[in-house]
Symmetry: C2
Subunit: 286 residues, 2 copies
């Protein structure tokens, strides 16, 4: 019987330790930059993407050691996108997780640059790791594709454009897929690749994660619309609650989790943590 | 006898063709993002860094084909840094090379994101290229190091900080080294690595390029201070003319070129184009 809270905490500690070791020290020049990078990365995130990366590796008998570098590379990319998404020219958020956003604390220029440096660091640690070169190249290709204009950045551009042109259901789906699901899928595919998965295992785990990512964004949209939280549904044009009833949104999230579970069934391995995380994504309340 | 103008034009055509082939089409979704990326990359730059990359490869008997992918990867990084440097939160420039800057034409959010996507694309094309995996990893490591917090981004952070704390000569030198010379050195080292240079050749060519980069920035500072151009010396706190006489600045640039030429002498190969580019950097008037 898996205790998910214990599991998540254990993985989170491994990830936080590795992130600390991979990042330049806060007293290394330029100190302000390195402090801003650390402020962003150690701001209390759930570490869901890197945990999924490690769980995917574990599922096909890969070790935590196999997966730790891709796991933290994904988290560095995630952190940089949060810094840039929060900028005044984008979501203009003053706080994130109850603390001042990076640009509020370190200034806008340093926030842009801290994000830029985190992106470079993600690729640097993959290139510097001790994995076989062919594995490193597969991982860098995965991550660069997901991070680029056909992935997360593309999703964010259309999310910004949605402020001026209210998006239809198809466009919202496109935004969810690229802005959110692409990095989930890549995190899990990278864990699988690092654990020497077969091509079929990589594909099925990737399908699992894409569905998890879509379910995550839908539940995020439901939580935003229902709460007096960080942003109301009205402020977020790509919130699916603009075009779906609460019931239909919930139904779509449920369907994605069913799809995720079906993809996991095709994996020959220990998928219990991945199943539990899928339920966690669906049932989370914050 | 080398005709440098012809040489530079020939290389520039090869580079522009490869950049065009490597970048997403302007009608690929999100079209605005891909158009902004292309607007930045095809805005009339001199292509000095990618030309140096190819010339370094040629010097040690590497082909243009060996060097073209690292050459354009460096140029994508250079383009992204120009977009971000021009942002309102940084240099707040309205024009670059006589045309509106990316944020003036496409909006600030899209400018940040176009830069982000260009950085990811640089690593993606290296990972996707047909070079041996070990070469690709060496190149990605070089580029990520130069692009990160210990390289170009670190230099830019201290350049921004210099607005509030007038920098001394050592700090200005540090900024020049990281903001400018790091990408020159990396461009040339990558060309050498892609052409299968020995470790000694990579090191000597890297020394050549670092000196070229420093000379380039000093001549840039002299040109800025003397012209009613894009930015006066007073507006740029890291301009070395704040702490040097025109004569001393010119002398430092000369010394760097002497150093560059001395490093080239240690290379067993055809260094004529690299020598000519060194003179060009020193004598340029725009």
């Amino acid at each position: 019987m898996l205790n998910l809270v214990t599991y998540l905490n254990e993985k989170r500690q491994i990830i936080d330790h590795a992130l600390d070791a991979a990042m330049p020290a806060p007293d290394e020049r330029p100190t302000l930059l390195h402090q801003a990078m650390r402020y962003s990365v150690f701001s209390g995130g759930k570490r869901l993407r890197p945990i999924l990366c490690m769980a995917a590796s574990n599922a096909i008998n890969g070790t935590d050691d196999n997966a730790i570098t891709p796991a933290i590379a994904v988290e560095l990319i995630h952190s940089y996108t949060l810094i840039h998404d929060d900028l005044p020219s984008m979501d203009n958020d003053d706080t994130r997780r109850g603390k001042p956003t990076v640009h509020r604390k370190y200034g806008e220029a340093n926030a842009v640059l801290a994000g830029d440096a985190l992106q470079a660091l993600a690729f640097e640690i993959l290139a510097d790791s001790t994995m076989p070169d062919s594995t490193k190249i597969s991982l860098i290709r995965e991550l660069a594709g997901a991070a680029g204009s056909r992935g997360v950045v593309g999703g964010q551009v259309e999310d910004i454009a949605a402020i001026n042109v209210p998006p239809d259901a198809d466009t919202i789906r496109w935004i969810h897929l690229h802005k959110t699901a692409d990095l989930f899928r890549t995190a899990v595919r990278m864990g699988a690749i690092a654990g020497n998965a077969t091509a079929a295992q990589v594909a099925n785990l990737g399908q699992y994660a894409e569905s998890i990512g879509l379910a995550f964004q839908i539940t995020d949209d439901i939580l935003d619309a229902n709460s007096g939280g960080k942003r109301s549904a009205i402020d977020t044009p790509s919130n699916c609650m603009h075009v779906l009833s609460a019931q239909d949104a919930r139904k779509q999230a449920d369907e994605q989790i069913v799809k995720a579970m079906a993809a996991l069934k095709l994996i020959d391995g220990n998928t219990i943590p991945l199943e539990a995380i899928a339920q966690f994504v669906l049932e989370r309340t914050c």
